[in-house]
């Protein structure tokens, strides 16, 4: 792990910890969701591709939550943070805990997140905190591919048969109200932006709109009108779905504390 820079010392550790949890919880929860497809995807090729993406995201989680634990300074490891926190302590976007639905819906959720993740990581590569810039550099290579893949599939399924088009439009309409949360600024965001650690989320909206709009139009899908946007995940107010994910994901460490294999 790189030594703390001058900028690190200037940043409120609580704000930094919150930010790192958001990054790590996004990748952890979406990675877990994707892992639910393992052995169930509609074709062997897609099954392996989704498992690869899930593993990339879990790998990134280890880095983000590992750094979060170090910044917190209470001796918590990435595993402790992943397996021993309750739902209200998770900071992931509500989008990432949405149920998988059918394959098209999983891909639509992936694309909407990948587009944001790609832009955000690119910005983080310039972070004044070298530890964050390093993780973002590694993760952004993986996420560029995630985006290429989910974008390609959204276009092919959207501009596919009447059946696939209908399912993709349904998925888009259903998930759209969960996209606004990506661009909502929390109090801690201003602190981090001022220190050059991370960009303010709202600043990425224009680029995301352009990227997503272009893809949806190529996919012959109709972008839903701007309406009410769900929020809460970044503050620990989650839908009931997160509880079920945690029950599944954390069972072993809860039932057999400290178990290793």
């Amino acid at each position: 792990m790189a030594e703390a820079t001058v900028a690190d010392a200037a940043v409120d550790p609580t704000a930094l910890f919150e930010f790192l949890l958001r990054m790590g919880d996004n990748t952890l929860i979406l990675g877990h969701r994707l892992s639910e497809w393992c052995g169930h995807a509609p074709a062997l090729e897609e099954d392996i591709a989704l498992a690869n993406t899930a593993l990339d995201l879990i790998g990134q989680t280890q880095l983000w939550l590992g750094l979060a634990g170090a910044v917190e300074g209470k001796g918590r490891s990435a595993d402790d943070l992943a397996f021993l926190r309750d739902a209200c302590e998770f900071r992931n976007l509500l989008l990432n805990e949405r149920p998988n639905g059918d394959f098209g819906k999983t891909l639509m959720r992936q694309f909407l997140f990948d587009a944001w993740h790609h832009l955000f990581l690119n910005a983080l590569r310039l972070s004044s905190d070298t530890r964050i810039a390093e993780i973002a550099g590694k993760a952004s290579k993986e996420v560029s591919y995630h985006l290429e893949r989910s974008r390609d599939l959204v276009i092919r399924l959207g501009d596919g048969t009447a059946e696939s088009h209908g399912r993709m439009q349904g998925a888009l309409d259903d998930l759209w109200p969960y996209t606004g949360e990506m661009f909502m600024n929390e109090a801690s965001d201003a602190v981090l932006a001022a220190a050059g650690v991370a960009p303010e989320p709202a600043g990425l909206k224009t680029e995301w709109d352009a990227l997503v709009g272009e893809t949806l139009s190529e996919a012959t899908l109709k972008e839903p009108a701007e309406g009410y946007m769900q929020k809460g995940g970044k503050r620990g107010i989650h839908t009931e779905h997160l509880g079920y994910i945690l029950a599944d994901m954390q069972f072993l460490q809860r039932a057999y504390p400290g178990a290793t294999w």
Binding site: E46, A49, R156
Partner: protein
């Protein structure tokens, strides 16, 4: 679903300077997705630096039943192998 997708043959170049080698086949709706799928299925352990895919139906192949006429005649033509030269000792192992 996959039964409706055409079959593609996948060739991977392991290192710069080596030839692309056939590694297997997979299903995909088009060439771009075939390359993506090949990346996911065949390069998980850092095997490749380049991928080629080609529709299996676009490969013209010799017929197994033609094996005799195609390949057996060359069995009897040892003079085509460069084994009749005396190699000077200085050359060493070739």
């Amino acid at each position: 679903m996959s039964s409706e997708w055409p079959l593609w043959e996948v060739f991977i170049r392991g290192q710069h300077g080596l030839n692309h080698r056939h590694v297997g086949s997979l299903h995909a709706p088009d060439a771009e997705m075939a390359i993506n799928n090949a990346r996911d299925v065949y390069t998980r352990r850092n095997e490749g630096v380049s991928i080629w895919v080609v529709r299996s139906s676009d490969i013209a192949a010799s017929s197994p039943s033609e094996k005799g006429p195609l390949f057996e005649p060359s069995n009897a033509k040892v003079y085509r192998h460069p084994t009749f030269f005396d190699i000077p000792d200085e050359v060493g192992h070739m």
